[in-house]
């Protein structure tokens, strides 16, 4: 699209129309001394000088690629095949915005359709949208959807061990709503859902890595007439039963783990899928497969009557958008991995995390919490966990998250994560360093 600046004549006509003589007059409300303040910036630098300065700053970062990295807690260090970046950065795809015009955007629309199809299979859901800002906003939108669906039902059950930042996002979304959040301990079957409950949220696994009985929670929620939302680790879906198979009505996930760098916290990808029964309540874009008038396959936005450009203030959501590029990377990752590849990644995560847990548990003073876990687990530490994190980080080992960051009472608990990226020697180094650090 050409950008045509307005001409002197255009500006003159516009100024005349509003009865102002000059552009400067528009800024009359700003005191003259403040209009062009002296900024006192340093002199400009050459490209080489700038490169050196930025590189020196970047070298101060502690990154997953240069350390033994055992930090997860919502952001996961997984392998990203080179093909993901190579394909996603092609000029045909790389754009700041998702083009939805079907006559010029068949490639992008097909990529969205394929993303939705693969994610739907992964989740065991019938419909997946494209997409949300991140896992936390996807979950908040899911709760909002269930709340609106529930009519007079004002109660929402959240797990005690939900990611604290996710809880914060949900509470922000609901700041002006008549809603009652109830926290439940342990597995979702412990949520005392009743006729006033719109939904029960299950975390699969929970913030502490624990895998609870998801099916039992579904049965209890449904018996009370409530919807059942499962927030899942999408990598884990590679080996464990999908949330859909276990009775979820709505599934959400953080898609960062699927081919996207941790990027200091974003941009990430909020994934959401629902059963066919709920598809007209689903927020966000949905691309469908269609035929043109000659019977050729094509892709278009579908079920758009839910959306803001048609339904205005009554749209299912006015605060979500497709994370086009991150969604595309996720699509490429899923296609590259396939069912077998994803199962392999999940299996590696499982094995490495369980090896790490077994070895750490042998270190005197350290105790791994019981229960079933996938790639993340809580370790009780003999000294405050925050001290361990600080000391080991100096040795280029990031041992995990000290739970005291979110809960001041949990001083001696460390959340450790291992993925396919964690080598045996890194795990052994972590274990020997834990021994040393408490001496």
């Amino acid at each position: 699209m050409p950008f045509i600046a307005n001409s002197d004549a255009d500006r003159k006509a516009m100024l005349a129309a509003i009865g102002v003589k000059s552009v400067e007059e528009l800024f009359a409300d700003i005191p003259e001394a403040k209009r062009f303040p002296k900024l006192d910036l340093p002199k400009g630098l050459s490209e080489l000088e700038v490169t050196r300065e930025i590189e020196a700053m970047a070298a101060k970062n502690v990154t997953a690629s240069t350390c033994a990295w055992f930090l997860g807690a919502g952001s996961y260090n997984h392998f990203i095949p080179a093909a993901v970046g190579a394909l996603a950065s092609r000029g045909e795809f790389l754009t700041a915005y998702t083009p939805y015009q079907p006559e010029v955007s068949q490639g992008t629309l097909q990529a969205i359709f394929e993303y939705q199809s693969m994610a739907a299979e992964l989740f065991g859901m019938e419909v997946v949208n494209a997409s949300h800002y991140d896992g936390a906003t996807a979950l908040a939108e899911a709760v909002l959807m269930a709340y609106n669906h529930g009519g007079e039902r004002k109660k929402v059950f959240l797990p005690e061990a939900l990611h604290p930042e996710y809880r914060g996002v949900i509470e922000t979304y609901f700041a002006a709503f008549d809603v009652q959040f109830v926290a439940y301990e342990g597995g979702p079957a412990n949520a005392a859902a009743d006729s006033a409950t719109s939904c029960v949220v299950a975390s699969y696994p929970d913030f502490h890595g624990q895998i609870h009985d998801i099916k039992a929670g579904a049965d209890k929620a449904h018996a009370a007439g409530a919807l059942y939302i499962v927030h899942v680790d999408p990598i884990m879906c590679g080996i464990l039963k999908s949330p859909g198979e276990l009775g979820a009505d709505i599934v959400t996930a953080e898609g960062q783990a699927l081919g996207n760098a941790m990027n200091f916290g974003g941009p990430w990808l909020g994934m959401m899928g629902v059963t066919a029964k709920l598809m007209r309540k689903l927020p966000g874009r949905i691309v469908g497969q269609a035929q043109d008038h000659e019977g050729r396959r094509g892709f278009v936005l579908t079920l758009t009557a839910r959306e803001q450009h048609i339904r205005r203030e009554k749209a299912v959501s006015n605060i979500c958008s497709n994370q086009g590029l991150v969604m595309l990377q996720t699509c490429i990752y899923l296609a590259l991995m396939g069912k077998g590849g994803l199962a392999k990644v999940a299996e590696l995560c499982w094995n490495k995390a369980h090896y790490a847990a077994a070895e750490i548990d042998k270190v005197p003073g350290f105790k791994v919490e019981g229960g079933v876990f996938f790639k993340e687990f809580v370790v009780r530490t003999p000294v405050p966990a925050a001290e361990i994190v600080e000391k080991l980080s100096r040795r280029c080992i990031v041992p995990g998250l000290a739970l005291s960051k979110y809960d001041g009472a949990r001083t001696h608990e460390l959340l450790v994560c291992a993925t396919e990226m964690s080598t045996k020697s890194q795990i052994d180094l972590l274990v020997s360093s834990l021994k040393e650090v408490i001496k």
């Binding site: 007209r280 009557a305 839910r306 048609i310 339904r311 009554k314």
Partner: protein, 127 residues
């Protein structure tokens, strides 16, 4: 534009027609024609009590989604289940098989406040 002479109308294009003690309600022929192909109808649950002007459902066509407003206050006594499987019934026969809800009215005087067929034809025709 077809008009059901026995029905009364709201300016938001819902109609209501007496059937025993109940009122049968739906959207007018003018409304279905303006909306185009109807692909989905969502209706309130039976037993729900609503006031005149409150939404009893949503009708969705290929180009728009609109709330459906109660022509009079009352309790939803029945909903047309056939619309779930075949929402286009509203396009084909909005006053007959394409009816939406049956209402047990609670404020008798509201019926008199609705437009009769002649008044509605004049108003809708003017658009």
């Amino acid at each position: 534009m077809k008009i059901d002479a026995k029905a009364r109308y709201r300016s938001s294009h819902e109609y209501a027609r007496k059937e025993g003690n109940l009122l049968v309600a739906g959207i007018s022929d003018h409304a279905q024609e303006s909306l185009g192909d109807i692909v989905f109808v969502e209706l309130a649950e039976v037993g729900k009590v609503l006031k005149q002007g409150e939404a009893f459902g949503v009708v969705e066509s290929v180009k728009a989604a609109s709330d459906l407003y109660m022509p009079v206050s009352g309790k939803i006594a029945a909903v047309n289940e056939a619309l779930q499987g075949d929402p286009a019934l509203v396009n084909r026969d909005c006053y007959g098989e394409g009816w939406m809800v049956k209402i047990e009215p609670t404020v008798a005087s509201e019926w008199d406040g609705l437009m009769d067929a002649a008044a509605y034809e004049k108003e809708a025709g003017a658009h």
